[in-house]
């Protein structure tokens, strides 16, 4: 989505889902004012917190210091000089549409082109959370549970998976441990209605009509698994 499409989407979501997004709109306008061609993706989750709005911003052609300036909009600093891998966003944010408040903002980068990409997530009133990313090709040995392997294999047969993105979180003593969050990155983005028919998307069935009205024919690029399932589309 470009900025104009993102605005339309937010308006429709606010009206249909009863969300309060004035604060978010203001922040996004400030980010838009930083300039540069941005590509936005939003995400839906079928279950908890229907008022949580998720957005993330990609910008392969954005200036190198864009992330640092964007962090300044939130009163934060980035930790890295270089941008993250192109498959990762520059910035992600979670907005609570019930209270019209920022829930979390993340900035992505890395120390050098040879280093893994990382992200720093800021939550108001909470410690900084750091994550490191690793992309691995999908294979049957990745997942410990047979059911997940079978479902992902069925998805991969219908809609090829480019990679599985694992997340590592900073543990005690500086060691990294596997986080309870991972993603399937699709090789070719899949139109929202075609994504919904997948077994993996069954949890969306209860809200499919409403979400379809808001996602329209936009394409799903990534499916993130954490406490809930999130489908990113743009």
């Amino acid at each position: 989505m470009n900025a104009a499409q993102r605005r339309d989407w937010l308006e429709a979501s606010a009206a249909c889902l009863g969300l309060r997004l004035r604060g978010l709109r203001g922040l996004l306008e400030e980010l838009d004012a930083l300039g540069g061609p941005c590509r936005w993706e939003a995400a839906f989750s079928p279950s908890s917190q229907p008022s949580l709005v998720r957005l993330r911003c990609f910008g392969e052609a954005l200036a190198g210091d864009w992330t640092a300036r964007a962090a300044g909009v939130f009163g934060a600093r980035t930790l890295w000089k270089r941008t993250a891998a192109a498959s990762l966003p520059r910035l992600s944010l979670d907005w609570d549409g019930a209270s019209d408040r920022l829930s979390c903002v993340g900035f992505f980068g890395r120390d050098s082109a040879a280093e893994p990409s990382q992200a720093a997530f800021h939550r108001p009133g909470a410690d900084l959370r750091r994550r490191r990313f690793e992309e691995v090709p999908f294979s049957s040995g990745i997942f410990p549970r047979k059911r997940i392997t079978q479902e992902v294999a069925a998805l991969h047969a219908l809609c090829p998976v480019r990679c599985v993105r694992l997340e590592w979180e900073a543990g005690e003593g500086g060691a990294w441990r596997l986080a309870r969050r991972w993603a399937l990155c699709l090789k070719t983005p899949l139109a929202w209605p075609l994504f919904l028919k997948l077994d993996l998307a069954r949890a969306f069935a209860a809200r499919c009509g409403q979400l379809s009205l808001l996602a329209l024919d936009r394409k799903v690029s990534e499916i993130v698994f954490e406490e809930d399932l999130w489908a990113y589309f743009g």
Binding site: C16, K197, D199
Partner: protein, 472 residues
Amino acid sequence: MKLDETAWIYGGGLSAQWRWVCGRRRRQVRSLLAAAADGFRRRAPAGVRRRPYLKGLRLLLDGRGAAAQQLLLHPGLDYWLHLWDKHFTLSCAEEDWHLHMGLLQTFAASLALQTGQGGRFYSVLDPGARLFLFGTPFYAEFPSRLGRKPVELIVEKGGGLQLKGPGPLRLRASGAQLRALTPSAAGQAAARPRLGRLLEAAPGIVIDEASWLLTHGVTMHGLGRLSAGEHERFCRVLEKAFEDLAVIAPELQAEMTDMVRLLVPLASPQKHSSVSSSYVNLRGAVCLSHAESPVLQAETLIHEYCHQKMNQLMIVEPVLREGQGGQVFYSPWRPDARRLRGLLLGAHAFLNVARYVLADLSRRSLQGKAAIDPMLNVALRLYQVEAALRGLSFYGDFTEFGRRFVLGMQRELGVLYHGAQWFPRALMREARLKAEKHRQKYGLFETGFHRPADLVDKVLRAPFLSPGGRGG
């Protein structure tokens, strides 16, 4: 074997492909029976294992020839395997083991009777105090207090039958006596033990609503509980329906009479309405309420048979690729949503129904008012099938055969529209509007999704061509 989709869209008769698909199902059944034998040896209580139940199971497993092949695909055996899988992989009471294994012996006894080989089988009356030789029209009925009691079945080499038990009771009939029995429905409250012969709507297709094994799984609608006279009438109309099918759709009728073994009368919930159902664990059984019209009954038979045909085909050819069960879609036939598989089965069944009714209309050369209802029926079905195929083509991911199958159905639909060209335009319009009204009510705008009850639509839509703006 590469399947030819044209043989599966409409009837293809008892072709090599039909035999191959049936053969694959039989192989599956044999494998399940062998697994059941193994499970019996390992898990059955000692008292149950002392009975020669495995002998009957082996007879079924090893049986060859037409009678054995038919029995392997009998709806009763389908349901028996379903119950085995559901209950007998867990701990069960000994009397349940006796009932289940005893029921299996009736299949073996039926095979022995049909092949003239004779044999002795230890069975059990079902909870209704009846015993059915599945695959034949013959049954035995006892006073209801004798339900679940043991009985010894002796099949004589000359084709006769003896029942010893329960207790001192005895029944016997020679082969000629069995064949001479007047057909009558079971379940008419037998005061004394008797042997009977079920009514048949076509050779090998019995009418029954009393067999415990065959009706236990009939849960969607109530059983008909027909009187003797009502059974007779139910049978006569269905006989006519099968006769008409043999003329109008002979390939379909040939498949139907090869696969369908049982017709179960259902109660109609409202006067002048009909209900029908079939079950994935009771393949070969069609459940339907009575109607006086052989055309309506033929439609119902075709509808339910087509579902079963597809279920059978999909054992060997999934049509839809795996992994697409996450969503439900608008169905032109229902207010509630359906999965892609449901749309596929519905489109297939009603395409066949529309073709049949159109052919019947033409054959009988109906004119004027007599033609209106059938024409409306055909027209509505065409629009409904079109809506279902639309949904399927929007969202479905198909196997190679599946792509040919769905495109083939679309082409056949086109052909049927040609067949309906002489229908009055007002009638076609009425049917089209009815279908459109249904979609507006239950579909999500112009998509193929179902419209959820809680949809909130406050999306601003751009105004187009306001009257003042047109032309400048």
